[in-house]
């Protein structure tokens, strides 16, 4: 028992250090007075943070990534939520086949997803660019949305909707007033997950983007020449924003819990 007592905190703690070292490194080197290549420490400066678009192509690729991420997330969340609702609530033929079609993209490595879509686009003769990436991202995000939202729909108590119907709510009203608000946290979580995955995706994007530059692609391409410190600024800023979103979400749900306890 003694061994176990310190083993878990020590190994777990070291693992957290392992997990966070690169993130701290990125943050620290966002303050590096780097010049063109941000490889070694050359002194502290605020310049990179004051002028995050200072290096060529950083902000263009960021804008591209945000645009792709938002559009793909909206499409994937809408389509995926509908599928999740339909699958749980309605009878179907070809149910097994549908399940396979949803699960298989999750069990397929990204290279294969990227390569097969590329084969398709080459065959169709479509020009690679913004829309081919949006399609690719929509496909891989959708499976995640379906799995996440479906779990939420399955855990809903159908009696709530029945109660609404007993109180003379039309099916539509019951859905929007009862079911949808209960599903919303799941849908929002799925959308955030989708956006994060789309924003961070490199492999599938690399196969299907042609000359269209996204943020991960920009970093990968400039890795050989040295990544500008501004990329670290944007990476760190995104990280801090996401962290704030999570913390605010936690505080809100904590407050809600407290309020419910008072009642």
């Amino acid at each position: 028992m003694k061994l176990g007592r310190w083993f878990v905190p020590v190994v777990g703690g070291l693992a957290f250090v392992y997990l966070l070292v690169p993130i701290v490194y990125i943050f620290v080197f966002s303050f590096n007075d780097a010049g063109r290549t941000n490889l070694e420490w050359r002194g502290f400066t605020w310049d990179n943070w004051a002028n995050p678009c200072g290096a060529p192509a950083v902000c263009e690729s960021l804008a591209n990534s945000l645009q792709v991420g938002i559009v793909a997330t909206l499409i994937a969340t809408a389509l995926g939520t509908c599928i999740a609702l339909g699958l749980v609530r309605y009878k179907f033929r070809f149910r097994k086949l549908t399940d396979v079609l949803i699960i298989l993209p999750l069990a397929t490595p990204e290279v294969v997803l990227g390569a097969s879509l590329l084969a398709q686009f080459l065959n169709l003769g479509w020009e690679l660019g913004y829309w081919t990436i949006v399609i690719a991202h929509t496909v891989f995000c959708m499976s995640f949305v379906i799995v996440t939202v479906r779990a939420r729909v399955s855990s809903l108590d159908p009696r709530l909707e029945e109660a609404a119907a007993d109180l003379y709510a039309s099916p539509r009203l019951a859905f929007w007033k009862v079911t949808f608000p209960l599903l919303l946290p799941g849908i929002v979580a799925a959308a955030l997950l989708s956006f994060a995955m789309s924003f961070d995706d490199f492999i599938i994007t690399n196969f299907n983007s042609g000359n269209f530059q996204t943020f991960p692609k920009f970093i990968y391409v400039s890795a050989t020449r040295g990544i500008p410190a501004q990329a670290n600024v944007i990476g760190s800023a995104m990280f801090i924003i996401a962290l704030l979103v999570v913390i605010i979400g936690q505080i809100i749900s904590y407050r809600k819990k407290k309020q419910l306890e008072k009642i």
Partner: protein, 308 residues
């Protein structure tokens, strides 16, 4: 199932399961599912078929680079397999080692956050946020950061050389070690989070009871903790192994060396540098099929019903 008699004594409330069992019929369901399934069919299922077809294309005599005609050349598979079986095996080897390492590192992490810190919600919350923190930062940027941290001029390599663990002309990057470390690092959260979700539901009174009955800590771990977290371990290993086997970013950034080339790099370069579409397609298909076979065997052997 539970039957509750209401005040009127007439209607019995049906259980959730019963209600779900008689799913509604009708068009609405089709309208809900059809658009999304169409997208999946057109841009996932069909492309896989196209990929399969492309893997059998032939190069007509006197064709330009990148010119192929539809055919049925099964020999493409033999060609790429005989040329790239080492990369294929290496990918699975690296992915397997990374998965095992991620499990060994990730389990104590998950246990620490889910069980040990149960009484300290604040610290637990902070560590949970740190656990998902990597998802908020670009994985290529993090991999690139590792490359710089492990670089020859870097602090770690210099220290290891100073204490003579690493020979003076040794490297940390451009080695299989760096690639496996990178893979382990990048997919660690995918291992930890499912295990965390399972351990969160672990009733620690069971462990106390086992202790009261003179079970050794090892024994109660093997008989209680491990089986209780099995679905999480199962999901985590799949979520780590599958993307790791197909990854090429770690191999390209941290390896970039003939001893570390993974199959993803080969597929990428066959497509874009060599313009050998049939070869690239055949390799992709081999990768997909081998993963599906491995995963199916794994699920048959260890799978639990609640996963599928």
């Amino acid at each position: 199932m539970t039957q509750t008699i209401t005040k009127s004594g007439l209607s019995d409330l049906r259980s959730k399961d019963e209600i779900r069992a008689e799913r509604r019929k009708g068009r609405t369901g089709v309208y809900l599912v059809a658009p999304g399934l169409l997208v999946l069919a057109l841009f996932f299922a069909l492309p896989v078929v196209v990929l399969l077809a492309m893997s059998l294309y032939v190069k007509p005599p006197g064709a330009e680079i990148g010119e192929f005609v539809p055919g049925f050349e099964i020999g493409n598979y033999a060609t790429v397999l005989s040329a790239y079986w080492p990369e294929l095996l290496r990918s699975f080897g690296f992915a397997l080692i990374a998965t095992v390492l991620a499990l060994l590192i990730g389990f104590p992490m998950a246990y620490l956050v889910a069980v040990r810190l149960r009484e300290k919600p604040l610290l637990q919350g902070i560590l949970l946020v740190l656990l998902i923190a990597p998802f908020f930062s670009s994985f290529i940027l993090r991999t690139q950061a590792w490359k710089q941290i492990l670089a020859d001029e870097g602090f770690i390599a210099q220290t290891l050389k100073f204490v003579a663990i690493l020979p003076a002309d040794g490297h940390l990057t451009a080695t299989p070690f760096a690639v496996v470390a990178g893979l382990t690092y990048n997919f660690l959260p995918f291992m930890v989070l499912p295990i965390y979700a399972n351990l969160g539901r672990l009733d620690t009174r069971l462990l106390e009871a086992a202790g009261d009955l003179y079970a050794s800590p090892v024994n109660s771990f093997a008989k209680i903790t491990l089986p209780m977290s099995a679905p999480g371990i199962f999901a985590g290993t799949l979520l780590t192994f599958i993307p790791a086997a197909g990854d090429y970013v770690n191999a390209a950034l941290l390896g970039n060396n003939r001893n570390t080339t993974m199959i993803g790099q080969v597929i990428d370069s066959r497509f874009f540098k060599v313009i050998d579409y049939p070869g690239a397609a055949a390799l992709s298909f081999i990768l997909m099929l081998s993963i599906l076979i491995l995963v199916t065997i794994y699920i048959r052997r260890f799978g639990t019903k609640e996963l599928m």
